[in-house]
Structures are given as structure tokens and as C-alpha cells.
Symmetry: D2
Subunit: 344 residues, 4 copies
């Protein structure tokens, strides 16, 4: 079986990104640490994309992007408010705490994996004593860990609440492209125009081999971030190979095409699965993931047959993730396999 | 001007590494985080290379490789003994201190950038009170920051001293290949057989786009290192693109061919520069670097003419670094330019 | 009003502790950093008390005692399992995360503020992937934050589960004395004989001016702890003034007498409050605290009248804490005031 | 032998400090964590002393005072410039690095243990690349580790240089009182009026049982410092016992009287030792320490006879430290013993 639904990071590099990686290698020697022509070009392209003079930094992965960004927003005795299923809370092995030297994540629940202004305010106002790590930042994931998407007005409401309490707003955009594709909105409208201070713009899941961009719309917060990146072990010496592939994503809106395709494949899968009586869709399909519940024995059969996907959210919970290169045929095959496994 | 002598990380990706990166992209979906076929293959190849069952981890750059390795050797209240020109001391913006949460580097001087057993013992035995960070590891760089190379017996003597005082031995091998090429020794003989516990095996300067391998010969010290890598933001999701290019280096000993070439180009430059009366060679040429002193006005002229190299070690000190792709013609051109600048 | 029920740290120094502090000042000069006669005596007294050759360290407060102890049990990528109301989770402003450089607290709920073996196992076995901070220690509070006490067999069951999964067992004993007084057990029986590796033995709330003892029953875990204490800013230079007052507590079992008195006062308060129809006792009274719910307006009246106590656990939740010097008359006055406020 | 010359922290508590500690215990219950009457009074007294509205915090010892203060001045990727014999560099077991999560100390030499503006500028301007931890603070010790004292104009010159380069100025005042006594200057004149941003005002060596005050003249830098203190394990619950003894020092200028006495005893010792032919005074006697060189065999004899003092600065180097309670008779006895040991 050539394709999987476990994660969109099982996919490889999209051709456009690879083309630019190879191209960047053809220019002979280039200054290291980002003083090369490619890095400069990509920074400009990202500023164009967001229509604002933001500060852009390249790091190797999402763990680092989010952790370094959050570390720049708070001190060790501060806290970061996020949803209880936020990747920074559940899947980073304590990286945000490590890079911030101890800032605590304060989690809230919220329907469909989304944080609400009210939940933020509850956490901020719960206590104000010295023994409580002072909230300093809010982190939201767009699209969320359960495949849903914050609407523009939801982000605006969150950022208004953050501002009210003096909190910075961080967006984990590991799948930012998928959210933009879903919303059909301008990238600026769901970030800085809606009050986001810093975006971790995911490249890897969108088709890069490696690398994420940390985009500071609030440029004051980016002060000395280059030093933080260096000390954090995230400064690539041959940076052109991290940056140049972004050109492949940004030129001709390949990043959006990739995201739209992944979203469409998820929709196709969703539409097929919803017809299977034993299958229950557990989160609205809004990006490139489909979350379902099925009989555990059906899930087991699929795994035994070599299908790969994540199991969680209890008995029979399954996550199917589509990527930029997921083929229709594979989606249909999976849907048929699910149907058969459930019937079996 | 297409080639520079500032750093070997100005060079691009060698063709063999690029071939395997592209090849790794042709296999469709692959499990993430290192559970892919390519990563497995490279780990085996490195174990074969060193003829021992070592534990191998891939990280993004040398800052992280060294810092995470040292963090695994000591606690925050320990110290690491190294040479005063060690890269970990001079050029990591405090990364070793950050990743170890405060371990102090204790520096010693030593001829030609090399640490000596005696210097280690002096630092270890200087004090034993509670106010002195307890030495726990020794770090040596092979080849060194000034382009020299530790002989096998020098490493053995250092490791004997380290063992005597219960210290682990770390080798910063950002240019390990160049040292092996110079010594003509088996890689095992200058690492674990000589008492090295952990090697940071540099790939980037040898022709990779990105990535270093952390090789634990002392496997007990590698316990939970995977968690440390993850928390440290160094776990690549699409790890095949970090690991597969190593195959290009390891197959047919391309890594050694690359290193030998760089060394030879440095020798060629050295042999030309030594003839210029105003130029003084300040460190023995033993790997791919040539360190000289020349009149500062000559250095200025070279810079003005577009040559790129590092200036340091005071007035007129210059470092010229050759890489896997440095061309003879460029070396000769540089030598001629130096000659002219000195004469001018 | 001379006495309060907000916290047992509102009380002063008990006469016996003060006597020894003054006494320690009468010996003229003494070596610093613990090499004095008093510190040695107290260490021996604590070893006698626990009937084992434990390693004893003195630190300034409970935040440091717990945080340094936990830091010695785990690395930054590990996690510590504790109850959701554990002081280390709710009231340390991220100190455990700071001192461990990022270890995550994994919380469980459990009746009456007590962790259960099953809850520990659920957290340990929930996941084993690299993205999940690897559990390495369990922390329990004795007596608990809600005034209850772990029975010996409960501790034994927890330590058995901890051992099963390779976890160290830490006991936050800020009110250890109160628990020993309640259980009538030998201190050794609820610590090392029941499998506790390290106890933070609280002195401040029991009548000291400042200072807690960190007692390592598992002496291997204490390796280099003195360096950790020093680096953590917890090594007193004139240590005799931290250690000597412990003699006042330990001689003639004053620590137990103090605890028994506080417990008895809480029992007296409990017995009075339970008769007030509008008051509900919300946790069993097992140490020196009484937790009740009363009409919020009654709580407000008490506060307005100058009574000091903690409000929490929602609307009308109140904590009344008794100390070594709480007077019967004050207890009775408080009970009368509550009765009147509820009736009013 | 009742008195020693090893360190001024071998002395006990001065009567005035002890009086207030006992007094603070007589007021019954007091709110914890600094909300008590005594802490408030001492803060006001310190503000009066310095004739400015500074922010004052109490911590347990000098390690913590300096480390937390420096951590509040810089981020992990910054560096702190100090003298190579600074206590923060030589005797804190990496505490400044730990509390700042990796900030590097950049050391300079300088006559008589004093940093110079030129040395600061050399370090700041040496490099400006991303691999060099960006200097953010200067730390000076007053009086210095070798017993000398910065003159007002020296401090002014250092602070001017610090300001020029955007660096904050920290003063380690473990023996601040001795410097003030020597200079006969107003405390404000050698701190904030000379450009010091934060002073760690030492109490322990001046006669307290435990505790130092961190005094922020630059109040912006004190933002959230209370949270940092809490997370750093330095917030005393029964804080009155840390703060109240300060009243004993501040009332009637006991702190100055104590310092003057210690200084005078050092002068007396100095005047006696200088007459011994085999003894060489190696640093000017400007505070309460006398540094000499004598034949090593003489030093050995003194130690064998039970005298306690520090040996360092090589063969025969000895430090004799006087304290608030050092007796003339002991000084004379020591001088006689040195004379005899040297003659012997």
C-alpha cells in the first residue's frame, strides 16, 4: 500500500518545493545562516502574501516553531492558555515548558477543539495571586487538532479578549494552509488583521521536506528572536535549503492548491464514511482530517489489513488524515475497506 | 565570484546526497519520525562504518547535536571541560548552557587548539567544594577549530584522563571526516576504540543540505535520548529527508572523498601562501583550513575585492576554509590575489 | 483579632524552635554552609527519628524542597504524576517545571484529594510514544491539600504501582507532622518502609521560622543533591540558623505535640461547625484543616468582620486551618461567628 | 578558638537583628508571604535609606539574590559582563546560568578585582554576530571579592559605559555595607545616583541570620519580579522572620556600625601583618578583608594550629576576613601567630 492516512507528514515533498531545493543548489556557494539570496526572496514573498511588513524566521519543525514563539511571548513564571487538545499540550513532550524554562500551559475545554473567549477569561480571572503563573499568551491552532477551523469572527473575539487582558496571541499554523483553503479568506484576515501576533506557518505538512516559518506580525515581539533561534539550535547553516523550497509553495499559490486538494480528499472520505451505518462522524469535517467512531473490531481489521491511521478519543475513535498527494483511488479504497470492516 | 573561503557551509549539497534525497521522495508515503526505511538503513550503515552497535540519532544542526549530547552527559550543576577556542564556548550563543539548563563550560588553553590531559586534570582538581560546578564531561573538537587534528594517542590520553576522573568524553565532529581523511585511521580507532563516548558526526559541512548524526558508542548514555531530541525540537517528522542523504555520503566512502578533496585544496592553498613573504601560517595545516596572518591592509584589499573569509585572532588574522567542492582554479586565484594584495 | 485561620503559616515560631535558634547564636563563630555542629546534630536526629541512614538536606521553603527533590528524580523530558489539587500543580507558579527545566505534571483526580494506584497506571500506560513526556516520578502530599491523610496501605499500594512502572515516589510533607499525628504511626512506616524515596519534611508550618528538610531514603537519588541545592540558591551560609531550630521540634517530640494540637483544634472546629445547619463539611477532617461550604453571604460577612480564611472550591467553599498555637477560645469564637453569619 | 577569619559568614546574628526577630514573633499571627507589618516597615526603611522610591524584595541568600536579579535583566541568549574573580563567576556553581536558563558570563580582568569601562566596551564591541550571546547587563561587586572598593567616579564611569551600550547595571552588594563604610558616601550616591539599576543588598554577612534584599532602583526592571521570586523558590511564607531582623540593622545605622567595625579590624590586622617581613599585602585593604602572601609553610602551620582562613591566588595566598563581631584580641592573636609562623 503506497499511501497512508495516519498523518499528512507521511507524504513526501511536492514537486514544486523539490524543484526549488534543487535550484538553490545550483547557485554554487552561498553565505550561510540566512544571508543568502533565497532566504531573502522567501521572506519577501511571505511579506507579500500577508500584505504587511512582518518579521520572518525559519526553523526546522513545528515543535521548535511553537516553543520558541511562545518562549518569546512569556517569561518562565508566566502561563499560556490553550485548548486541552492543543498539540503544544499533548504532543510536544514538554517542549514549550522546556524552551520557556517552565511556563505552564493552562488548558480549557471547548467544543470542536476550539478555545473560546469565555474560557480564556475564566482562566485569567480565576486567580491573581503570586502562586499562580501569570497568563501572558493565548495559543490557538488553525486548523485545529480535530480538523475544525476557527472562523474569522471567532479569532477576532479571541484576540479582543486577549488584548483586554494584556495577552499576546499565538497561532499554531501547522495546517494553516488547510484553514485558509477552507475559509476562502485572505491569509491576512485570519492573522494580523484579526489580531494574531505571531503565526507558526507550517510548511512540512503542506509539502516541504522540512521547515516551518515563524511570522511575527507584532514585530516588537520579534526582538532578538534571531538569537533565540540560534541558541535554540534552530539556525540552519545552509539555510537556503530550508527556505528555497518555500518558493515552490508560494509561487502560483501551490500551498493553497495543496491544501485544497487535501481538504477535498477529506471531504470525499467523509462523504463516503457518513453513509456507513456503523460509522459516526465525531467532528465536523472542516479541513483535511476526518474523525470517526467505528466498532473497535472494525478498526482492528483495518489495521490488520495494513491501513495506517491514528486511534484515539477512546474505543473505536479513528483519525484519517489526507495530504497534498492523497489519491482519490486510495480514498475510495479506504472507504470501501471501512465499509467492509464494519459489515464484517 | 562563485566560490568562497569563509566557511565550508557556504558550499551546497554534493550530488550523491542530493540523489538520495530525491530518491527518498520517490517511495510515496513513509512513516514519520524515523520509522521509515531510509532512516533504518542509514543507522545500520553508520553502525557498519564504526563496526560497533552504537545508538544513532539525527538532528538538524551542530548546535543541537553538541548541546543535546552534552546535556545528556551532565546535570545543570555540572561543568564541561573544553578548549578556550571550542565552538561550543565561542560560537553557540549559550546553547550548551541552555540545553543543559546551566552547566558551565570550563575552558583551558592548549597549543594548536588542542586540549591536553594535564589541562583537564588541572581543572578537575582545582577545587572540590560545593560552589564549583562539578566537572562531568570533556569535549574535544576533531578536527579542531583551528584546523588541527588530534592524533590517536592524544585522544587516548585524554580519554584515560577523563575516565580517571569519572568524566564522559564527547567529540564535536563537525569536521570529523576531515580528521579521518588526514589521519588515514579507521573511524572506530579515533572514536570508541580510543574512549570517545559520544560523537557528533557532522554531515552538513561534508556535503549534506542539513543534519548531523549523534552517535552514542556508550549506549547507556543514550538512554531516553530520543525524548530529549523530541523535547529539544530536533525530531524531524519527515525524517527520511534528513537521513537518506547520508546514504549518499556513506556509500562508496563519498564522505571521505569529499573530506580528502577539501583537505587537499587547503594544502594547495597553504603551499601557495607559504611562499608569500608577508604571509605567516599560524596553525599547522592539518585539515581543510588555512590560518594565516597577513598585513591588515592586504586583508582589507581582498575583502574589498569580494573575497569572503573570516578575520580573527587579532590584526591581520585570516581563516580560509575549503569545502568538498572547492575548485583548484579558485584556490590558485585566491593565492594570486593574496600575493598581489600583500605586494600592493 | 490576634489569630487567623487562613493558613498555618500565619503562626509564628514555637518557643522550643526559637530557643535553639538563640542557642545556636551563642556559640560564636561556626563554619558556614552546613559544616557546623548544629546541622550535624539535626541530621543525626532526623536519621534517628526515621530509624534509617537517610541523606538530609535543608532548604528554605517548601517550593524549593519539592521542586529540587522532583528535579533530582527526573529529566526535563519526563513527567511527574500527581493529584490535580496537588500544591506543586496549583500553587507553585511553575516552580517544579522551572527547577526541572520543563518536566510536565500529569494530573489525575481522586476522591478526597488522594491519588490512587489505578490513576497512576492509567497515566503511565495511556501512551508510550516519543511525544509524551515519559513518567518518572509520583508525588503525593501527606497530609493532602484538602486535609485528608493517606493510610499506610494506601501509600504501600501507590509505591507498589510506582515500582511496577519504574517511578520514584516523592512525598510532599509540608504537613507531614499532622499526618503522623493522625495516623499514630511511626514516621518510618509511612515513608521509607512504605516505599517513599524522598520526603520533603515540612518545618515551617509546624513551628519553625523558615526551612524544610529534604530527606532521601533512597540515597542513590541524593547523589550530587548538595550541588543542586547550591545552584538552586538554597544553600544557607549561616546554616545553623536554619537547622538548629529543628532541634526544638525534634526534642521531646514537640513536632508531634504541635501537630496534635493543630489537629485537635481542627476537630473542635469541625465538631462545632457540623452542628450548623447551613454548613456542609466537604472533606473528612483528618488533619489540621476543616473544609466547609456555607452560604456565600455568610462567608462574606465573616470576611467583613475581619476573619481570615481561604475561599475556594466554588461558591461558599471555605478552608479553615489550625496551627500549633491556635487557641481553643479562637476556635469557639470562630464557630460562633460562623453560626451567627449563617443564621443572619 | 572562638573566632575565625575564613569568612564573615562564620559570625552569628548581631543582637539588634536578633531582637527584632524575637519581637516579630510576639505579634501572634501575621499574614504570610510578605503581607505582614514588619515586611512593610523594612521596605519603607530601605526606601528611606536610599532616598528613593525603589522596589524591594527579600530573598534567602546571595546566590538567589544575584541570580534572580540577573535573570530579570536578560534573556537566556544574552550575556552578563563581569570581572573574572566575580563571585557569580567563580562561586555559584552555575546558579546565574541556571536561573537565567543559559545566559553566559563574559569575564574581563582588571586591576584589584575591579571591572573597567574599557573592558566592558571591549567585550561588547568584540563581536555582533548571532553566534555571540548579546551582552545585556554588567555586574560589579561592591566591595569586591578581593576587598577593594569602587570609588563613586568609577561606578559612574561604568554606568555611563553600560548605558552607552544599552546594558543594565547590577551591583552585587554582599558586602555593600563595608563599601559604604569605607567611602563615607551616601548609599544613594554609589547606587542609583551613580547609575546602578539593581542592588543585591547583603544582610547575612552584616549580621542577619539569613536573607538579602534585592533593591530595584530601576523599577521597570522589577516588573513581575515577585513572580520570579516565587517560582525561584525564594518567597518566604513567614516572611516577617526574614524581613524584621533588617530593622535591627537599619535602626540607628547598626549596619554601618557593624561594617565600620569589621573594616577597622581588617585595618588593624593589615597594620600588624605589614610589619612582618615575610608577608606581602597583595590587594589594598579597603574593606573587611586582608589578602596576603606568606611562605606556604607558614600558612600550613597556622592551619595546623587551628586558624581558619581561605587559601588561594596560588602558593601562600591567604584571605583573612573580619566580621561585625571580630574581637581586637583575636586580631592581635592572629597577627602574632602569623609572625611566629613566618619566623619559625
Amino acid at each position: 500500500m503506497a499511501q497512508h492516512f495516519a498523518s499528512d507528514n507521511y507524504a513526501g515533498v511536492c514537486p514544486e518545493a523539490l524543484k526549488w531545493l534543487v535550484e538553490a543548489n545550483s547557485s554554487g556557494h552561498e553565505p550561510a545562516y540566512g544571508d543568502d539570496q533565497w532566504t531573502q526572496r522567501v521572506c519577501d514573498a511571505i511579506r507579500d502574501l500577508f500584505q504587511t511588513n512582518c518579521d520572518v524566521f525559519y526553523v526546522f519543525n513545528g515543535t521548535a516553531a511553537n516553543s520558541l514563539a511562545l518562549a518569546s511571548l512569556c517569561q518562565s513564571y508566566n502561563s499560556v492558555i490553550c485548548h486541552e487538545v492543543a498539540h503544544i499540550e499533548t504532543d510536544e513532550c514538554g517542549a514549550p515548558e522546556f524552551f520557556s524554562s517552565g511556563a505552564k500551559l493552562m488548558v480549557a475545554s471547548g467544543t470542536n477543539g476550539k478555545l473560546t473567549p469565555q474560557a480564556i477569561e475564566t482562566i485569567v480571572t480565576r486567580r491573581s495571586d503570586i502562586h499562580y503563573p501569570k497568563p501572558k499568551a493565548v495559543s490557538i491552532t488553525q486548523s485545529t487538532e480535530v480538523g475544525t477551523v476557527y472562523q474569522i469572527d471567532e479569532i477576532q473575539a479571541i484576540s479582543a479578549m486577549a488584548r483586554k487582558h494584556g495577552l499576546a496571541l499565538h497561532m499554531d499554523g501547522a495546517r494553516f494552509a488547510n484553514a485558509v483553503a477552507t475559509l476562502g479568506a485572505h491569509p491576512a484576515d485570519i492573522t494580523w488583521r484579526a489580531g494574531v501576533d505571531v503565526l507558526c506557518f507550517g510548511g512540512t505538512k503542506n509539502g516541504l521536506p522540512v521547515g516551518e516559518a515563524v511570522v511575527f506580525f507584532n514585530r516588537e515581539l520579534a526582538q532578538d528572536f534571531a538569537h533565540r533561534v540560534k541558541q535554540g539550535g534552530q539556525l540552519a547553516s545552509k539555510m537556503r535549503f530550508i527556505s528555497a523550497p518555500w518558493l515552490g509553495l508560494l509561487e502560483n499559490d501551490v500551498w493553497l492548491r495543496n491544501a485544497r486538494h487535501a481538504n477535498a480528499m477529506a471531504q470525499r472520505l467523509h462523504d463516503a464514511l457518513i453513509k456507513i451505518p456503523q460509522v459516526e462522524i465525531i467532528f465536523p469535517r472542516e479541513s483535511n482530517a476526518v474523525f470517526v467512531k467505528m466498532p473497535q473490531r472494525a478498526a482492528n481489521k483495518l489495521l490488520a489489513d495494513g491501513w495506517r491511521f491514528y486511534q484515539f478519543i477512546g474505543e473505536g475513535g479513528c483519525r484519517f488524515m489526507c495530504s497534498w498527494d492523497t489519491q482519490k483511488e486510495m480514498v475510495d479504497k479506504l472507504a470501501a475497506a471501512v465499509s467492509e470492516a464494519c459489515a464484517g
